[in-house]
């Protein structure tokens, strides 16, 4: 059965740390960084990379267009 | 034709793209004439009856923001409703023509002619530091000519232009020669003349934005200074005035619009009696012919300002005369028009003072 592996690239400086992506992710991939960007926001990051299936749910709900999602098919 | 009808015909011939208005006496013939002619079938000009004067002026904002030749017309109470929009238009530097066929106020007032919107027109009826080029026609011919001129000035300076008439000029019938017909401009021509217009973003360029918002005080001051520089340029270039028998005059009557016609009659009576009286008629109320009046104040014995108001333009005449000559005032209020005899009587009072 084909399986997908995905990854999320976060535009750290654009992120405002609203956490909507964290709530939207069905696989618990995302969490918030303990570091802040230059605007003082804790930004989103992948905390469970292997679980990402590249569904882009995080990207759709992100209000600031910070997230770029890739996915690759594995046999 | 009627003065109001002349505006409609002249607008079409000036290549007007759109008229947006709301009926109000005594200027409803402007839209009625347009609706009867149906210019959308010939030149493609849009004519729309809006839900209010507030909507009309904001339709004008929208159209003007696209670099289109657009206009509205109304009468005093309706023009009051438009003041917010006019302020936004002035700040966003949008060219357009606004016609006010004045009636007696304040309030709902009367439908009879008045000139009591002078302050509102030339001192900024809306909020903020702005000016309107204000043209004051005194005949049906000038209603037509000034409509065409108003569009030219509006686009030359990217600024709203007010045509300030009154109920009598709007309703009176006279012979008129209409201005030469100009075609409406194509989108490409508008893009060339108005590179700021919102006609759709140009490829490879940033989008155009029409706005009057500048939250930073420094930016807002810069925008104000830009406006003031433009107003200074207009004041230098665009003052228009008619002088009648002023060259040897001992006394000068100052009046605009309908009042100037009545006063001309009184001046002719005075001349027939051997009295050296002249008439100065400001055609632009803003910019105001301050220098012309100052010059006359320095070599005459007295001035009489006649208005259909409690005395509004007289303040600008007195500022121009700067105490050099006695400036008296005669006016009728609330829609009453003085007779030439009343002006003659006021002149006698001035001369015997």
């Amino acid at each position: 059965m084909a399986k997908f592996k995905g990854t999320v690239v976060v535009n750290v400086e654009r992120c405002k740390g609203c956490e909507l992506c964290v709530a939207a992710c069905p696989s618990g991939v995302l969490g918030m960084s303990h570091h802040a960007n230059t605007k003082g926001y804790n930004y989103a990051q992948m905390i469970n990379e292997d679980a990402c299936i590249g569904c882009a749910s995080c990207g759709y709900v992100c209000p600031d267009g910070c997230l770029t999602i890739y996915k690759q098919k594995y046999e | 034709m009627k003065g109001n009808e002349a505006i409609a015909h002249a607008a079409i011939r000036s290549g007007c793209d759109g008229y947006f208005g709301y009926p109000i006496t005594p200027q409803s013939e402007v839209m009625e004439t347009l609706m009867e002619i149906e210019p959308w079938k010939t030149t493609g000009m849009v004519v729309l009856q809006a839900e209010s004067e507030v909507a009309s002026i904001n339709m004008v904002y929208g159209g003007a923001g696209c670099g289109k030749r657009v206009m509205t017309s109304s009468s005093s109470p309706g023009i009051s409703l438009m003041q917010e929009g006019i302020s936004y238009i002035a700040c966003a530097e949008l060219p357009c023509v606004i016609v006010n066929v004045m009636r007696g106020g304040p309030g709902l007032g009367t439908i009879q002619p008045s000139q009591a919107d002078y302050f509102q027109s030339v001192k900024g009826g809306g909020h903020g530091d702005y000016r309107l080029i204000t043209l004051a026609p005194n005949s049906v011919q000038e209603m037509a000519d000034h409509t065409s001129l108003a569009f030219d000035l509006a686009f030359k300076y990217r600024t709203p232009v007010l045509l300030l008439a009154d109920g009598a000029i709007g309703q009176m019938m006279e012979k008129v020669t209409l201005p030469p017909a100009r075609p409406r401009r194509t989108e490409e021509e508008i893009r060339k003349e108005c590179p700021w217009a919102t006609l759709g973003k140009r490829h490879g360029q940033k989008g155009n934005v029409i706005t009057s918002l500048a939250l930073l005080a420094e930016e807002m001051e810069a925008q104000n200074l830009k406006l003031q520089a433009k107003y200074a340029e207009i004041s230098t270039n665009e003052i228009r005035v008619e002088k009648y028998m002023c060259d040897d005059a001992d006394y000068v009557v100052v009046a605009f619009g309908l009042c100037a016609r009545i006063c001309k009659n009184a001046v002719e009576t005075a001349r027939a009696n051997g009295q050296k009286v002249g008439l100065l008629r400001p055609i632009t109320l803003w910019p105001f012919p301050t220098e012309e009046i100052r010059g006359l104040a320095e070599r005459t014995k007295g001035m009489l300002v006649v208005e259909l108001s409690s005395g509004q333009m007289v303040e600008d005449v007195r500022l121009a005369a700067n105490g050099k000559v006695d400036v008296q005032f005669y006016g009728r209020l609330g829609g009453i028009v003085p007779s030439p005899q009343e002006v003659t009587d006021a002149l006698h009072k001035l001369m015997n003072h």
């Binding site: 592996k5 995905g6 999320v8 405002k16 740390g17 609203c18 956490e19 909507l20 964290v22 709530a23 939207a24 605007k39 926001y41 992948m46 990379e49 990402c52 590249g54 882009a56 749910s57 990207g59 709900v61 992100c62 209000p63 600031d64 267009g65 910070c66 997230l67 770029t68 999602i69 890739y70 996915k71 690759q72 | 759109g18 947006f20 849009v46 729309l48 809006a50 209010s52 507030v54 909507a55 904001n58 339709m59 004008v60 904002y61 929208g62 923001g65 696209c66 917010e84 929009g85 989108e187 919102t198 006609l199 759709g200 973003k201 140009r202 490829h203 989008g207 029409i210 706005t211 918002l213």
Partner: protein, 252 residues
């Protein structure tokens, strides 16, 4: 991040360039951002970046023109439909839309909204309803729910004092001039996808000359509501959707 996967041929989703790189001034988690993004995506996908003209309102979205890279006009409070009317009538070949909040569209601009819809202007109206005045600091909106607290109804909206919440979308659906009237939200992936389809339909319809399209997006204002963005979505589902249920009112 997995560099093996992050390659152009594996791209699934990224910000459209029509939404430019200027950081949006909205509060973290604000629905405005999602809707801006959807409009930008629709403009991109329809290929209308050079023929679309947007009208920005007064309110939080006053700066919409800074973020979506098209030609914009910024209207006086409530007057966006009047501007759009003139622009569309003067240039029927352009895609003209307004973007308005509940105060702008349903309070001060009610007359312009109703009459533009009633004339059947061929424009798209995008209406953000979060039941509160965000920009001015959380005052009561025409759409504020009964009992909902705002800074100008601090004990909750009381119809005896404040009148009732205005369901303007239901109202415009009654008008002959409207062709498409729908109410959407952007709180979940599924909702976002549906809202985007609605916006696209509204934009497409506006070019067909058959009347006004009106898309309400029930939205959150977490700053005004004094909740976190995630809590706001939940509160919206539990409260706003009762008064403002999602779905199409009209599509003809």
């Amino acid at each position: 991040m997995n560099n093996e996967i992050a390659k152009p041929e594996n791209l699934v989703y990224t910000k459209t360039p029509v939404l430019n790189d200027v950081p949006m001034h909205y509060c973290p988690g604000c629905s405005h951002g999602v809707v801006h993004k959807l409009i930008a995506e629709v403009i991109d996908e329809m290929g209308i970046q050079e023929t679309a003209i947007g009208i920005a309102p007064v309110g939080c979205a006053v700066f919409a023109y800074k973020y979506i890279e098209i030609d914009w006009q910024q209207a006086a409070h409530g007057r966006a439909p009047a501007l759009a009317t003139a622009i569309k009538r003067l240039m029927p070949n352009k895609t003209v839309f307004t973007y308005q909040g509940d105060g702008d569209l349903a309070a001060i601009g009610t007359a312009e909204t109703i009459h533009a819809c009633n004339r059947g202007e061929n424009i798209a109206i995008i209406f953000i309803n979060n039941g509160i005045y965000g920009m001015t600091g959380g005052q009561m909106a025409p759409t504020t729910l009964e009992g909902m607290k705002t800074s100008t109804c601090p004990y909750g909206r009381n119809p005896e004092i404040n009148g009732y919440p205005l369901n303007i979308t239901k109202l415009v659906a009654e008008l002959e001039g409207t062709r498409y009237v729908t109410r959407q939200a952007v709180h979940t992936v599924a909702a976002v996808r549906k809202a985007k389809k609605a916006i696209r339909k509204a934009f497409e319809y506006s070019m067909e000359g058959k009347g006004t399209s009106f898309v309400e997006i029930v939205s959150t204002c977490n700053s005004g509501w004094k909740l976190s963005p995630v809590q706001s979505n939940k509160w919206m589902e539990e409260n706003m959707f009762k008064a403002y249920p999602l779905g199409d009112f009209k599509d003809r």
